[in-house]
Assembly symmetry: C2
């Protein structure tokens, strides 16, 4: 749902696939630009969370973010707010593992998707170019105007397959 109350004044335009984020070296300039472009301010907590995400290209859970941010003196409410904000302005996206927990992954150039290991949670990204073909096909066959898609593939990573055959 859209943000409530007064501090929602800055309407963030729902945007997808903003390139240029994530990676070993957090691009704070890009962060600031994206925030400014949505009329939002660049603050220390936002930078900190952005850096945390940049250091975890495979994504983090809310709980992990809360713990990490707490060590930096940042409250959990801010973590929730900022994650939601980042998702809204399109610098991260949210998936849920098979365990049902949300995981936030930085957007990478090219509209990547995550292949998540059900056992250890490690995620590998892949492009879903095939999906764009599917979208076009669907559009022409159904007359729908396709606005987006959400893909989730899950399985077991090589390490987990080796470690335990069963489960």
């Amino acid at each position: 749902m859209p943000p409530t109350s007064r501090q929602a004044a800055a309407q963030a335009r729902p945007r997808r696939c903003r390139p240029g984020f994530a990676g070993p070296a957090p691009d704070f300039a890009a962060l600031a630009a994206s925030l400014a472009g949505h009329g939002l301010r660049t603050t220390a907590p936002r930078r900190a969370l952005f850096a945390l995400l940049a250091g975890h290209p495979q994504g983090i859970t809310v709980a992990e973010a809360i713990v990490a941010m707490r060590d930096a003196g940042i409250g959990q409410a801010t973590v929730y707010r900022t994650l939601g904000l980042f998702e809204t302005i399109g610098i991260i996206y949210c998936v849920h593992g098979a365990d049902g927990r949300h995981r936030f992954i930085p957007w990478r150039p090219g509209h990547m998707h995550a292949l998540v290991c059900r056992v250890c949670g490690q995620a590998v990204e892949f492009d879903a170019c095939g999906l764009q073909v599917l979208e076009r096909l669907l559009a022409s066959e159904t007359g729908y105007e396709i606005e987006g898609h959400h893909v989730e593939v899950f399985g077991r990573c090589p390490a987990c397959r080796t470690r335990a055959g069963g489960t």
Copy 2:
């Protein structure tokens, strides 16, 4: 109503994607067979939830199920339990929509997916055969053992496109 359920001939296999479920006419015999095949009992709440699901091929949320079942005098704990059960024995599967909420969808033959209109909610189904190619490619490239996928495509249906141009 204990009618003649001799048609339950087919023994239940612990298998996913069992066909024959869902649809306008809930196949209670198939439900009973599947439950019995897992050593589970056929009860009124399970039949009721099964019928509810059959009436919503596009899936329902937990909240919707709880409300609907409450009207039938069924407790929320039972709804959670039964949904989890149905998922375990493979007559429904769980996804989370772009809004982050879980949605339970009856398995259909052929593994169809839904294209949902964001405005009116009307859904069109399509097969995602392209996805199977993608899965195989991912498996060979990443070494993951692919166990499943979830695809959600959303947009605006022709009627809603015509009716209102906005948003």
